[in-house]
């Protein structure tokens, strides 16, 4: 098994980088939409809720194609981004992170929204009477109380990203060292004759990576539970 080849390290490093950035990039948005759906009533709420959940029910390839049409170098937004700012995410690892973020978004919103709905809003009111403004109340009361939900959301988003395949390969293709994450690398080996051994190695790596993520999240969950005094 050991040592791992350069290509394998590259795939691992890329997968983790894509997962990390997709989660951190989408977390603030997930928090905002979770709050919006849990705490506010507005016209078109059902539509917003539905749009957020689309990646959960659509085939990932469809999401990848939509991203390509929107953000590709000739896409609706992508063309403007490229011409105005010289930025393009097409065929870049950043594009893979965006694809992962979109796919994991509904899972994060759901987890955070659920925990937001269990927070006693009386606690927030109590904090308001103790001289705390709305933003401080959110940061010192709401956020700590929903931290288990945020952790769950992050873990789900991270896992979704590690496993993401369809949207990524459709949107940013399969470029070694740039967009060839672990699942894409595994797929590639299954497509070439004699790649079985390599595919098996990547499978073991994927399992180890998944187990490690689970252990870390369980460890963090315990710390949060202890801190919340539950």
């Amino acid at each position: 098994m050991f040592p791992l080849s350069t290509d394998e390290w590259l795939a691992i490093e890329l997968s983790l980088r894509v997962a990390f950035w997709s989660v951190w990039f989408s977390l603030p948005f997930a928090l905002f939409f979770a709050w919006l759906l849990a705490r506010r009533n507005f016209f078109g709420k059902t539509l917003v809720d539905g749009l957020i959940h689309l990646p959960l029910v659509l085939p990932p390839v469809v999401i990848g194609y939509i991203l390509l049409v929107m953000l590709g170098r000739k896409g609706l937004i992508g063309e403007w981004l490229y011409e105005a700012l010289g930025v393009s995410v097409a065929f870049k690892w950043e594009g893979a992170a965006i694809a992962s973020a979109v796919m994991g978004f509904p899972l994060m919103v759901r987890a955070i929204r659920l925990s937001l709905e269990t927070v006693d809003q009386g606690l927030e009111k109590a904090a308001r009477t103790l001289r705390a403004g709305p933003i401080r109340v959110f940061l010192t009361i709401t956020l700590p109380l929903i931290s288990p939900g945020i952790l769950t959301g992050v873990v789900l988003g991270f896992a979704r990203s590690l496993g993401e395949f369809g949207a990524t390969i459709t949107f940013v293709s399969n470029i070694p060292g740039e967009t060839r994450t672990l699942p894409l690398a595994l797929y590639t080996f299954t497509q070439v004759p004699g790649g079985d051994a390599m595919a098996m190695r990547l499978t073991v790596i994927a399992v180890v990576l998944a187990l490690l993520s689970l252990f870390i999240s369980e460890f963090l969950a315990r710390r949060i539970r202890a801190r919340l005094g539950g």
Binding site: T129, L130, A132
Partner: protein, 359 residues
């Protein structure tokens, strides 16, 4: 001084409340459950917006619909002790106590953390989590947390509800001490007349969201409206008095009251202490002449003011005492006939010492 004059529609009610509370005095919002008492203090705290009216502490206007003033709760400086405490579960007792204090500008801090912890007996609990505290301990933390935010007025929502007698006795002295030591206007919501009589200087009687009657505690408690709310089954007269002297031989305490001199079984209060008594109409007898051979110690002369038939067997007799206070006595219709009682008859009200409730 806290001034409140607010109106607003909440659910099925129209809130219409007007009252004032001086610094150092406790006004009880008293009424049935669901009468809108909590909504009124939520409006004072800024958690619910009144439709119109004005709320001010001294010269600081917290809410004024006429001038479009509506300060947010965090700017009002109004302390709130919630019925269900609402302690922050993710913070220690110390973290809870410091939450509001840390946000108070240094110039506005008039309470010392250590003194407050000492007063409320919380020192050994500081590192604990709220979930591990008893009901009485939680309430004390809630009281300390609200006060350490150094408020200019204090709101208490049924602080004794849901606590057993022992826990009540644990909390009551703190509330009395706070009223005396921290000179704040206090608004206290309760549906328990005993708690209200023990703590309040002033009562605002609330019925269906409206302040029906506001005044000194005895006046409101003796008023017909309050009796209607309390139910007519057990009429009584509330009198305030002060301790004059203690008789150590028999363990009796003499009190100077609005009804005259009354002796009750020994109280552990120094002479000069104010207190309230409840004279239950069921425990008051009537005699036409001053009785000699009788166990009752309190014999008060008076004149019958009115007689009201309650049912076929009982009547309520109102007696105007020498002190001009009117008290109720509930006697049988038969006794009423036998004594030939009528309006204007001079009588003696006999009050059993051991049957007097003290607050």
């Amino acid at each position: 001084m806290l001034e409140v004059k607010i109106k607003g529609a909440i659910d099925q009610f129209e809130i219409d409340a007007t009252f004032m509370t001086e610094a150092g005095t406790l006004t009880a919002l008293f009424g049935r459950s669901g009468a809108g008492k909590t909504t009124i203090i939520n409006m004072i705290a800024g958690l619910v917006k009144p439709r119109d009216g004005r709320i001010a502490i001294d010269n600081d206007v917290l809410f004024d619909s006429a001038h479009a003033i509506d300060q947010p709760p965090n700017k009002r400086g109004v302390g709130y002790i919630f019925q269900d405490n609402l302690l922050f579960p993710h913070l220690t007792v110390k973290g809870n106590l410091c939450y509001g204090q840390n946000l108070t500008p240094t110039a506005d801090r008039y309470l010392d953390f250590d003194e407050m912890v000492e007063l409320l007996g919380l020192k050994h609990l500081l590192s604990r989590r709220p979930s591990s505290l008893s009901g009485g301990e939680k309430k004390r933390v809630a009281v300390g947390r609200a006060l350490l935010a150094n408020p200019r007025a204090l709101l208490m929502d049924e602080p004794l509800a849901g606590l057993d007698m022992a826990r009540k006795d644990e909390i009551l002295p703190f509330i009395e001490q706070i009223r005396q030591q921290v000179r704040l206007p206090i608004v206290y919501v309760s549906h328990d007349i005993d708690d209200v009589l023990r703590l309040s200087d002033q009562i605002a009687l609330i019925d269906k969201g409206r302040t029906v009657l506001v005044g000194p505690a005895e006046t409101v408690a003796n008023h017909a409206e309050a009796r209607l709310l309390l139910g007519q089954n057990n009429p009584s007269t509330i009198v305030s008095g002060t301790v004059i002297s203690h008789d150590t031989t028999f363990g009796l305490t003499s009190l100077e009251t609005q009804a005259g001199l009354i002796r009750v079984p020994g109280l552990k209060l120094p002479p000069g202490s104010p207190l309230r008594l409840r004279l239950n109409a069921r425990n008051i007898s009537i005699a036409l002449s001053k009785p000699q051979d009788i166990s009752v110690l309190n014999v008060l002369p008076g004149v019958i003011e009115s007689i009201e038939k309650i049912d076929t067997s009982t009547v309520d007799v109102k007696i105007r005492l020498a002190t001009q206070l009117t008290i109720d006595a509930r006697i049988t219709t038969l006794a009423h006939q036998n004594l030939n009682l009528a309006i204007g008859t001079s009588v003696f009200a006999l009050i059993k010492s051991v049957a007097v409730d003290r607050f």
